[in-house]
């Protein structure tokens, strides 16, 4: 395809870009047709894209060509219809990736710029194919860039143009995959550490209503992705659950901090408004965890795949501990309000840990939890969760509540024949790539085995801090 460069050079910027897109489409179609696996766009072509679409200088001698704002808009329109008209998924994906996959060169900046504009436009005019491609892009790209794209969209729809939130709201039905990835990116972006990193109210409302209407939305990427272990390192989490848990746990304190700053203006509006939103969101998150147990079992993944990472939880608990300290310091005489907010944050943490653990979204022992929660102040529910339920309960049929990594050390689990266990036909795909799934320790008999003897951490070990109720 490199030979068309000569024909592109004399053209004006827009028609050259248009011409290149046309040829790119034909080229990729042929590539797919040829059946070569995997179809790979050659570097010459990628260079052409950089030169004639992204307009990054070919070499120092050639001056960079620039497009006017109007030409850029026309180009975006052409690209929109180009993706819209291409009926083959594979071709679209290859084309998108040829245009927007980051190459680690100086063209990446203009690549990101154009991508932001294209996706923003696709949302505005409802171009589903582009959103689908962008969803894939959000799965494969380093999270730093994902966050940048999310930031562009939030700026465009929540900050720049008031009243344009409903347009963004529609992506839920247009492309659930994109919506899910967008939530993941947004929750990664806004970690509630500062005012700038607190989500705008409209965005929060939108996300809460999405998840409340359809909790499975947050699992869409997880459900649609074959977990082959080829998840790129440093990409976004496969679900936004970690980010959402962080939001809900930190919100009571984070918004109080904001409130304190706002107090000079005499406004507590934000807290009043966001309180119920986070309460609803937190419940939705727990409900998603409840859904997970079955999904993981069906996929044969129960106890193998941690959707919540221990290290990010550790970060959360230390963040929380710092926030609690600050809250105490700022209000010298610890007011009742502050106390209630702290307890709410701890309650939510305890609930998220317990429900996630019970449903196989968090793979650790209560011992591990006690370690990461050791610096947190007293909370009845948290202590109950950390010590585990009392097991001399009347009912002997209590099913196992959570995966226990201790089981991995049992003789059955370490048996080498385990990966081909006949009752789990889906196993072979995963145990064969253990190196790619560092967070999925192998386990025996997930909860599909209700009569499994009580696990060590559940036997009501004497724990000095039982809740004092």
């Amino acid at each position: 395809m490199g030979d068309i460069r000569q024909s592109l050079l004399p053209r004006d910027v827009l028609s050259a870009a248009k011409e290149l897109l046309y040829h790119l489409d034909i080229y990729i179609c042929n590539l797919v047709q040829s059946g070569r696996q995997p179809p790979q766009v050659d570097s010459k072509t990628l260079e052409l894209v950089e030169e004639f679409i992204l307009h990054s200088p070919k070499d120092r001698n050639t001056p960079a060509r620039r497009m006017s704002a109007l030409q850029e808009l026309q180009l975006l329109e052409i690209m929109c219809s180009c993706f819209q008209e291409q009926s083959r998924d594979t071709v679209r994906q290859l084309m998108f990736s040829a245009l927007f996959s980051l190459q680690g060169n100086q063209a990446d900046e203009s690549r990101m710029g154009l991508l932001g504009k294209l996706v923003s436009m696709a949302i505005a005019v409802g171009r589903v194919p582009i959103l689908e491609c962008a969803a894939t892009w959000l799965q494969r790209t380093h999270r730093v860039y994902c966050i940048r794209l999310a930031q562009v969209l939030v700026d465009d729809y929540c900050s720049m143009v008031p009243g344009s939130v409903p347009t963004l709201q529609n992506i839920h039905s247009a492309s659930p995959r994109f919506c899910c990835q967008f939530i993941t990116a947004v929750t990664t972006l806004y970690d509630l550490t500062s005012e700038e990193l607190t989500p705008p109210l409209e965005l929060l409302q939108m996300i809460v209503s999405w998840i409340q209407d359809d909790p499975r939305l947050v699992l869409i990427t997880f459900l649609n992705t074959p977990l082959s272990g080829s998840q790129p390192i440093s990409s976004l989490d496969v679900t936004p659950l970690g980010g959402l848990v962080r939001w809900c746990v930190k919100a009571p304190l984070a918004y109080r901090r904001d409130k304190k700053q706002a107090l000079t203006n005499g406004s507590t509006e934000s807290e009043l408004e966001v309180g119920p939103l986070f309460s609803t969101l937190h419940l939705s998150v727990l409900q998603v965890f409840m859904l997970l147990a079955n999904i993981l079992n069906e996929k044969g993944l129960f106890g193998r795949l941690a959707l919540l990472q221990m290290d990010s939880l550790a970060t959360l608990t230390s963040d929380l501990s710092r926030l609690l300290d600050q809250a105490d310091k700022h209000t010298h005489t610890s007011s009742a309000d502050t106390h209630a907010a702290s307890q709410l944050a701890l309650d939510r943490l305890a609930q998220a840990l317990q429900v996630a653990m019970a449903n196989g979204a968090l793979l650790c022992s209560r011992e591990d939890l006690r370690a990461i929660c050791s610096r947190l102040p007293h909370n009845n529910l948290l202590q109950l969760v950390l010590s585990g339920p009392v097991m001399y309960y009347n009912n002997i049929h209590t099913p196992p509540l959570a995966f226990s990594p201790h089981a991995a050390h049992s003789p059955i689990a370490s048996h080498p024949t385990h990966p081909t266990h006949p009752t789990h036909p889906t196993h072979p795909t995963h145990p064969t790539h253990p190196a790619h799934t560092p967070h999925t320790p192998l386990a025996t008999h997930p909860s599909s085995h209700p009569q499994y003897p009580a696990q060590p951490f559940m036997t009501g070990i004497p724990f000095p801090f039982r809740p004092s109720h």
């Binding site: 727990l286 709410l344 609930q351 019970a358 969760v385 339920p389 097991m391 309960y393 209590t398 809740p467």
Partner: protein, 714 residues
């Protein structure tokens, strides 16, 4: 620390949060449930939140979990019984609707199990049956196992609970709900005898329902409302009927005859009855079994008994339906739901429109009435060979109805005819009659007043007046235990006299004139003559002129004062007419005839002239009541003329005690002049009375002269 304490703590925290932050409350419970999945209270609390918020799907899901995980919890059972109660009720209450919706979210298997278990825990027969019925309706496959048992339980309950009527809650449930499920379930094989037993149970219920009388409390209410300014039709329209043990709504049975026909069609098909399948009308059904009857003598064994059952059941249903339709037109106040105001009660009596005809023709026809009827029978026999002796008696008799007063006359007469035909069919073979009598005995049809009314009318129609009289006496006996038989139109006494008028009509037809008049005068003494002269419709007059019938026609007479008094007068006239015009001199009878001929004048002009002829032949006439009751100017003129030389100087003794006076005057000549003077004065006074209300005069005649009238008949 115990698990129990933990659970209590968790539930308590959740409960505290429900009012302000329901989401947080649920988050607590979700957490609690993962900690203690075997704790009932946690799940119940979750369920309570969803139920109180009336969130159908999630409450249903939680109820399902509780039902599966805690099948022995009494609280679960209490909840289930509340839900099943909502299912049974037809309450439009929002919460009841929610509970019904909640039940619908459960998987079928669980619904089935729930209903079965709930049924087991029920001790009240009716509730238990209703519960089981819910099960059968939802899960047709359960009909095979439980259908017949449920039916039998209900029929047994009827017996053990000593219910008085077939229209009771158990039977209603059996007939309207259970039976259709059972007979329409093709997986079940039921013996024909059982099907027929059920068929008859259904028929007894539907007939009892249709022919139910107005409930007494409603009547009290009705009469109270009648006292106020409310229109009586309003109070009648709101008549309510509740079957003991059922709600008002479930006491309503829509289109009972149609439902009965539906059941009959299914039972017929399943018992392999002859004839085309599918729904037919009652009339078609009668034609069908009539044809079938022809083959009956040639059949044997099972085929014969099956055919017998078919004929008897079908014909009996047609009979009761047609008889009901007839009686509901003739005696509407007997039934609830039949609009009695549209048309009052009617009495089937001898038609007397020929009463003014010539005596000679009349005499002949009455004398030979029986013979004539026999002749008619003979003719019938040659036409249809299957009629047995006694059947078809009185066939071809006409029933005259005032078509404007009874707009539905043709349907009514048609129903009467169909009912008679069904009756005849049921009595055309011994085997049929035996079967039919069994049905009647088990249903106690003897105590059905409305059916007795039909039977009496049918016997009258057949001309078996002696039998009719005893039937009418029986009816009076049936009627006695029901003192509340009154229509709100205030015709209590008239309806009470209905039987008396019919008896009088029968006695007349039998030639027992004295008995006839006795009954009549009893009726008349209870009447209040209307102030208005009876205004006859043009049609009425036209009929009298055009139709000169043989004299054995019948007539449906409206049971109103206005119609009854003229009928009584005509019937009395008919009784005296024959005596008055015999060769023997009977001035009293002749005088009564003259008085009675005043009514409907000049219809009786011809008879009056005949009476005058007879007086002329006799040369004298003595009737002391003349001036009391004769006010007709034409008659007065005629009698005044009779005394004149041109009139033939007839000796008229028309003043009270005049006979004695005349005897006295004959001794001393000239005194006759005084007599003449008395007569002239009486005449003059009488002419001034011409404007008097004739019906009042004649009514007075009947009451004052009752003893003389009766005594003047042998």
């Amino acid at each position: 620390m115990s698990a129990q304490k933990d659970c209590e703590f968790l539930v308590k925290r959740a409960r505290e949060l429900v009012p302000d932050d329901p989401c947080a409350a649920k988050a607590w419970l979700i957490t609690a449930r993962t900690l203690y999945p075997a704790d009932f209270n946690i799940q119940y609390e979750m369920y309570t939140i969803e139920r109180n918020a009336e969130r159908t799907a999630s409450a249903g899901r939680l109820l399902y979990d509780m039902f599966i995980n805690f099948p022995d919890q009494p609280i679960v059972w209490r909840e289930i019984s509340v839900i099943t109660a909502a299912l049974r009720s037809d309450s439009p209450d929002k919460h009841a609707q929610f509970l019904r919706g909640l039940f619908e979210t459960l998987p079928g298997r669980v619904q089935c199990e729930m209903l079965l278990k709930a049924t087991e825990q029920c001790f009240n027969t009716l509730e238990k049956a209703e519960m089981l019925l819910l099960l059968l309706k939802r899960f047709p496959e359960s009909v095979v196992q439980h259908g017949v048992n449920l039916g039998e339980t209900l029929l047994e309950a009827e017996v053990s609970e000593n219910v008085e009527t077939p229209v009771n809650c158990f039977r209603k449930l059996f007939v309207c709900d259970v039976l259709p499920l059972v007979i329409n379930n093709m997986d079940m094989r039921l013996p024909a005898s059982l099907m027929q037993k059920y068929m008859l149970k259904a028929a007894e219920f539907y007939i009892g329902y249709v022919t139910r009388g107005p409930s007494p409390d409603v009547q009290i209410q009705g009469s109270q409302e009648g006292g106020s300014l409310k229109s009586p039709s309003v109070s009648r329209g709101s008549q309510r009927y509740v079957i003991d043990g059922l709600s008002e709504k479930s006491s309503v049975v829509a289109e009972p005859w149609e439902r009965l026909l539906d059941i009959l069609a299914v039972v017929g098909a399943r018992c392999e009855w002859q004839g085309d399948k599918g729904q037919r009308s009652y009339v078609d059904m009668l034609q069908r079994v009539k044809e079938l009857c022809r083959y009956l003598p040639g059949l044997e064994g099972d085929t014969r008994s099956r055919c017998c059952s078919q004929v008897v059941i079908c014909a009996a249903l047609v009979l009761f339906r047609s008889a009901f339709l007839y009686v509901s037109a003739v005696q509407p106040a007997l039934f609830q739901g039949v609009n009695a105001l549209s048309s009052g009660p009617w009495i089937l009596v001898e038609d007397l429109s020929s009463v003014y005809n010539d005596v000679e023709a009349e005499r002949g026809s009455v004398k030979h009435a029986h013979k004539k009827r026999k002749l008619a029978d003979g003719r019938e026999k040659t036409m249809s060979s299957d009629d047995e002796e006694g059947l078809g008696k009185g066939r071809g008799r006409h029933i005259i109805v005032n078509k404007t007063e009874m707009p539905s006359w043709s349907e009514t007469l048609e129903s009467f005819r169909t009912a008679r035909e069904s009756w005849d069919l049921l009595h055309s073979h011994d085997s049929l009659e035996t079967e039919f009598k069994k049905i009647c005995a088990s249903w106690k049809t003897d105590s059905w007043l409305w059916f007795r009314i039909f039977l009496s009318d049918m016997i009258i129609y057949q001309g078996q007046y002696r039998k009719a009289l005893s039937s009418l006496h029986q009816m009076a006996a049936v009627q006695q235990p029901q003192p509340g038989q009154q229509s709100p139109s205030g015709q209590t006494s008239l309806e009470h006299h209905r039987a008396l008028i019919q008896q009088a009509s029968c006695h007349y037809a039998l030639g027992e004139y004295r008995m006839a008049c006795e009954k009549l005068l009893d009726v008349v003494s209870g009447l209040v003559p209307s102030n208005h002269e009876s205004t006859k419709t043009p049609e009425d007059q036209g009929r009298v002129k055009t139709k000169t019938r043989k004299g054995n026609d019948l007539r449906l007479l409206p049971c109103t004062s206005k119609a009854v008094l003229p009928f009584c007068l005509q019937l009395m006239l008919a009784c005296f007419k024959l005596r008055a015009f015999t060769d023997n001199r009977d001035d009293l009878s002749l005088g009564h005839v003259v008085v009675l001929l005043q009514y409907d004048w000049p219809q009786g002009e011809m008879l009056f002239l005949k009476a005058v002829d007879k007086i002329c032949q006799q040369g004298s006439f003595q009737y002391e009541n003349f001036f009391n009751y004769v006010t007709n100017i034409d008659m007065l003129e005629e009698f005044a003329y009779l005394r004149t030389p041109e009139g033939g100087r007839i000796q008229l003794e028309l003043l009270p005690n005049q006979g004695m006076l005349i005897k006295h005057h004959t001794v001393t000549r000239g005194i006759t002049k005084g007599v003449k003077e008395d007569f002239r004065l009486a005449m003059e006074r009488q002419v001034s009375r011409c404007g008097e209300n004739l019906l009042n005069v004649l009514h007075r005649f009947c009451i004052n002269e009752k003893i003389i009238i009766i005594q003047s008949l042998p």
